[in-house]
Symmetry: C2
Subunit: 339 residues, 2 copies
């Protein structure tokens, strides 16, 4: 199960974690709590992933249909990227009111799908009072791929990398909550939010990053061509997703705070919104960059713009945050859509 979205604490009787843990113990589940996508037996020559976008839950109900289609696709493609899979087939289930811009949605979906080599192969349409879309993607192997990427392939001694900056999407979400919107013509910031020009631009970028993430398919393809290393996409925050990777691999890890990449104006913009930048970087979700490991002698090529952020340790080390030499435990915090 991939897990996405909002709200920090999970206090109700049933948490997502308790439900997923319970599910894993039931008969009839397979690979349910595992990687970002499931491998299809018997030959494991395809991987499958499914993700929702629900109005008011995953995006503002007034989001433009063309942007929604891109977001739906991007979020799903990120799971394929994390498996090192090449996009192949898409199946859409779309429920929407009569007033929804169906053709604008499909035009955008098909344009983006074609760009990624995906065919929309089937689906289901329904009318409903609000928009609920689920997309199933089936991925194949890239040429020269050696393997699927797994969460479970990290080993002590590996170096740990991020495929891009983290924390920006959480800033964007905070702005959307305050009324920021993305339309085809551009970003509108919340009324009353007066920012200096430099931060104004950063705020617009953050909103765009949140609503239109960029799946790291090229990085996934490169990683799938390497012989070893684990990967996961950062959908629920570095802290939570690193916990998942370490649990699956049976290892510990140390993240160096000073190496964590954020957008240039993260600190200033976070301060302007009353947020803690490190909390956004570690606990903010939906950055959709890959968090991955490589054996010590390996590094991704510079064109992929990855950042070294730490190292994999033995399990007994636990998960640590290194702030200039002083370490502290990294809590398993992050976005949980089970508010």
């Amino acid at each position: 199960m991939s897990r996405r979205r909002p709200s920090r604490a999970s206090r109700p009787r049933e948490t997502e974690r308790s439900l997923v843990a319970w599910l894993a113990g039931q008969r009839g589940t397979g690979g349910l709590v595992g990687d970002d996508a499931a491998m299809l037996p018997p030959r494991a020559d395809h991987v499958v992933t499914v993700d929702f976008q629900i109005a008011g839950v995953h995006f503002p109900p007034d989001l433009d249909p063309a942007i929604l289609a891109k977001r739906l696709l991007a979020v799903n493609l990120s799971d394929l990227a994390a498996m090192g899979a090449r996009p192949a087939h898409a199946f859409l289930a779309l429920a929407a009111p009569a007033s929804f811009g169906h053709r604008a949605f499909f035009r955008s979906l098909l344009r983006e799908a074609t760009r990624h080599g995906l065919t929309l192969a089937g689906g289901d349409l329904a009318r409903a009072p609000s928009v609920c879309a689920s997309l199933t993607l089936i991925g194949e192997r890239w040429p020269r791929a050696q393997r699927w990427l797994r969460r479970s392939d990290a080993r002590p001694g590996d170096r740990m990398f991020l495929g891009g900056t983290v924390g920006e999407s959480a800033l964007g979400l905070e702005l959307v909550r305050r009324g920021a919107r993305l339309a085809p013509r551009g970003v509108t910031l919340p009324r009353g939010l007066a920012l200096p020009a430099e931060l104004d631009r950063a705020a617009r970028r953050a909103v765009r990053r949140h609503l239109l993430p960029r799946p790291q398919l090229e990085l996934g393809a490169w990683l799938a061509r390497q012989r070893r290393g684990a990967a996961i996409d950062v959908s629920d925050g570095v802290a939570r997703d690193l916990h998942r990777l370490c649990e699956a691999s049976g290892v510990g890890a140390v993240i160096e705070v000073d190496l964590l990449p954020g957008p240039a104006s993260l600190a200033k913009l976070a301060a302007g919104l009353g947020c803690d930048p490190l909390e956004l970087q570690l606990g903010g979700g939906e950055d959709y960059v890959l968090l991955f490991t490589l054996p010590p002698e390996h590094a991704p090529p510079p064109r992929l713009r990855c950042r070294h952020v730490g190292r994999i340790e033995r399990r007994r080390t636990g998960l640590l945050l290194d702030r200039g030499g002083r370490t502290q435990p990294l809590p398993d915090l992050g976005w949980d859509h089970w508010s």
Copy 2:
């Protein structure tokens, strides 16, 4: 695209048909307007189908979670049955409020899935104000299957069959609209609906049939072992689904009204509810029996309880209804969820 559910006419600017026709002409779609499930290239050794169940659209919002899980699975399995596919893998996207009975839902889903040889291989969970579930099923070939079943394999001279009675689910829907409910303990009929004992039983059966259809997987497996013949599942009514089959095959057809199988008390119960029984049989949806054709020398074995209902003609014959020797055109009516 498989299409399900309510409301007779489609008058808004965009109809489902106009949208699907438009989609079929766009770049990036493949097999979108075709069979009940899509075959996966390159080897076509898997078929994939996806279907929704949305509270208030496809089922009453107070439906028991365990029953909902069975319905969600059954509606999807019917698409695999219509392809002659063996259930293999399931992927669930489930959005529901905190108060939803998640464990009851999953217990029921996993029990039924296991019974059908399905593994729940992945999915996505979210919290949302009302229930929206989409299920993607992947099917494989049955042992000794010769082919996938297609809508396009009917030939003039074929005999036409139904895998069971039609019209009962539409009666059940009418009763649900009037307040009938199905709970694990049984069916509750609408207050004020006073029926004689015989019709009371028939009404309860109809509600159960509507909410818990039985996918005809055994029949689909038998058909996939035959060398020829077309198939579709009756999700939107015999009239509409026969139009689809004939269009895909480039043929015409004649249905003999007197041969149409309905439950024994269809006429009486329909009269009691102020409905036209023939309209329910031809235009009512969600019976989820297979409508199929076989070459003239073939017939399904008696244990499958199929009924001969007509014959396939050349395209120029059109689609006709034969009422004791007098024929009339069969209109392309049926359930359309684009109310």
